[in-house]
């Protein structure tokens, strides 16, 4: 889990806690809070939160690869299913590369990853017109350390909801 996403989860959780008028002091450790407190079903069905939490908004790639791993395919099948349930939702697939490559090549490599992801979703029955894609190369890493544990989180395709999701 990336820091950014953890923080979003934690922030969402805090909102939930606040709405429930929970008197418990919120723990300063956002990471732990998010990890411990996140239960499936807390997010409103059909919302961005629901998608990210219960479906999984991202898949990961091996170094310099755009092949979809078995795990990635499983995530994408769940995404396709969810998208077929909420047919108003439109998405953009963001392709990303880790920082251990040159700028231009990584732009192209991340486009290749976004394309593979988009095509898989379309093959699963998601209308092509609902799925756009963009390639960010190495410009937007999610995890910030100079080690494989971070680079492996940065070699990713993220399905971002651009419209039509339910809001609370």
């Amino acid at each position: 889990m990336t820091k950014t996403v953890s923080f979003k989860f934690a922030a969402a959780l805090c909102c939930v806690l606040a709405l429930a008028a929970c008197s418990k002091k919120s723990t300063p450790d956002l990471e732990a809070n998010a990890a411990a407190g996140l239960g499936a079903g807390q997010a409103m069905p059909g919302s961005e939160q629901d998608f990210a939490t219960n479906v999984g908004d991202r898949i990961f790639f091996e170094n310099d690869q755009s092949t979809l791993t078995a795990e990635a395919q499983e995530t994408l099948r769940r995404q396709a299913q969810w998208l077929q349930q909420y047919t108003n939702v439109s998405i953009q697939v963001e392709g990303h590369a880790d920082e251990r490559g040159t700028r231009e090549y990584n732009i192209a490599l991340s486009a290749r990853r976004a394309t593979a992801t988009r095509e898989f979703l379309i093959a699963q029955g998601v209308e092509a017109s609902r799925v756009s894609s963009i390639a960010y190369g190495k410009e937007r890493p999610a995890a910030l350390c100079d080690a494989e544990q971070c680079w492996s989180q940065n070699r990713r395709a993220v399905t971002v909801i651009t419209g039509g999701a339910k809001t609370s």
Partner: protein, 468 residues
């Protein structure tokens, strides 16, 4: 750099002329530098004697072949009548340029015995020999009817010969440029290589944490002065490149829609999309005549190289391979293109004809090769090489022979050539969540690594052609 060329080709008003022949003895010793319009029969005679290239050997050794940098004294420029600040600027610019080139060791002015007080008089050479100066630069600046007049002379301290002399008239705000032009003349005289100081760098200025980096196009003088932002940071911008012939750059920008290649006039900041294509366009570079742009167009999982004629807007496909083909760079004569492709499995450098014919791989060492950039003199292709967890900058001949690594480390990327093909600039990424890239330069010999001063993190440098 010659007088005639200066007045013709630069937009800012600098006029220049050779220093007055007030001293007959000095004139006899003077070695005139190359000029388009030799006015005296005497000058023509000297030109014949010291045939081009004007390799001047101090102590019998030309500067680039010396084991150690040449000790050079840059006397504080004499200044008066409101030109005091300019005088200091000029000495400072020249000292900094020559020192950073690695070929010169400017001496500390505190050690100077003679305080030059009259520009017209020959220096006291014995006092300069005593502090072991081999070359001496003297100069003066003074106001003349709202304009500033700058004169300089370059001397061989041992033989007491005047090696170069020139006079400039301009507005005070051009003082740094005059300093760069004088640096270019001195550098050329003593190294035989063309100077590269009167040039600029366009680059990407970076700000903020790694996952939310704000990137702006920026331009500055090659020594890091006069930094000016060209974009506001709202759109992600990458890989700016200079036009060889106009005040334009081409670059990639993420906007509201698909990332695209743009053109921008660096004076007016006016920009335009280079063309409407169905998918992302990226990795642009100008042709040597500035009339075409080559770039990659994405198509699904592949990227191929296309050439766009900027006048007719005609698009021509140059590669057609199901792979990533990108980072194209023309040879200086425009007849060939170096590029990178992973068609063989990993990134490697290929060369093809400018029409896309004869695509041949030229990199065969261990590792991945990318970002090829042809040197302005056509002798070398610079590249980024990845292997063993390291990123290196190197050069090879366009047939793949003579590979040489110039610098290697955690992450070095994206070389660009100084117009004299002797110095390369690149960016070096820093480690850690708060780390970021900085600009560095290195001599083609692999010596003299220098950090290029920029206000913050900087990447994707591109060196301009010579301004004068």
């Amino acid at each position: 750099m010659t007088c005639g060329k200066t007045t013709r080709s630069i937009s800012i008003p600098i006029s220049c002329s050779k220093v007055r022949d007030s001293d007959a003895r000095m004139m006899t010793l003077a070695i005139p530098f190359r000029t388009f319009k030799p006015v005296h029969a005497f000058v023509i005679f000297c030109l014949a004697l010291f045939a081009s290239p004007a390799a001047y050997a101090i102590d019998g050794v030309v500067v680039p072949e010396r084991a150690d940098p040449l000790p050079i004294a840059i006397a504080p420029f004499l200044a008066g009548g409101g030109a005091e600040e300019t005088g200091g600027t000029l000495s400072g610019v020249i000292t900094n340029n020559l020192g950073r080139s690695g070929y010169f060791a400017p001496l500390d002015p505190a050690t100077f015995i003679e305080q030059v007080s009259n520009f017209e008089q020959a220096p006291n050479f014995a006092s300069w020999q005593q502090i072991k100066a081999k070359a001496l630069v003297t100069g003066q600046a003074y106001m003349d009817g709202g304009k500033i007049k700058v004169e300089f002379r370059l001397w061989d301290v041992n033989t007491q010969q005047q090696l170069a002399a020139q006079q400039f008239t301009t507005t005070p705000k051009n003082a740094r440029r005059i300093g760069h032009i004088i640096s270019d003349i001195i550098y050329k005289k003593l190294t035989t290589f063309d100077g590269y100081f009167d040039t600029r760098i366009v680059f990407v200025s970076e700000e903020g944490p790694k996952d939310k980096r704000v990137k702006r196009l920026a331009i500055m003088d090659q020594d890091g002065f006069n930094v000016r932002a060209l974009t506001d940071g709202k759109d992600l911008v990458l890989t700016p490149r200079f036009s060889p012939s106009t005040n334009e750059i081409t670059y990639m920008s993420f906007g509201k829609a698909e990332p695209r290649v743009y053109l921008m006039n660096i004076d007016t900041k006016q920009r335009e999309i280079v063309g409407e294509f169905p998918n992302m366009s990226f990795s642009p570079r100008f042709s040597p005549d500035g009339q075409r742009v080559i770039m990659s167009l994405q198509d699904g999982g592949n990227a191929n190289i296309f050439e766009l004629d900027l006048r007719s807007r005609a698009l021509r496909q140059l590669t057609n391979v199901a792979a990533i083909n990108t980072a194209p760079s023309y040879s200086p004569d425009g007849s060939q293109i170096a590029f990178e492709s992973d068609r063989g499995g990993t990134q490697q450098i290929y060369v093809m004809g400018a029409d896309g014919s004869g695509q041949n791989r030229i990199s065969f060492g261990n590792g991945r090769y990318s970002t090829p950039v042809w040197s302005p003199d056509g002798q070398w292709v610079a590249f980024t090489k990845q292997g063993g967890g390291k990123f290196a900058i190197g050069v090879m001949k366009s047939d793949g022979s003579g590979e040489r690594i110039l610098t290697e480390g955690f992450h070095n990327e994206g070389p660009t050539w100084a117009p004299n093909s002797r110095v390369l600039m690149f960016f070096r990424d820093g480690q850690g969540a708060n780390g970021g890239p900085q600009l560095w330069s290195v001599d083609i010999t692999g010596y003299n690594e220098q950090k290029v001063p920029t206000p913050g993190f900087s990447s994707d440098p591109a060196w301009s052609p010579k301004l004068n």
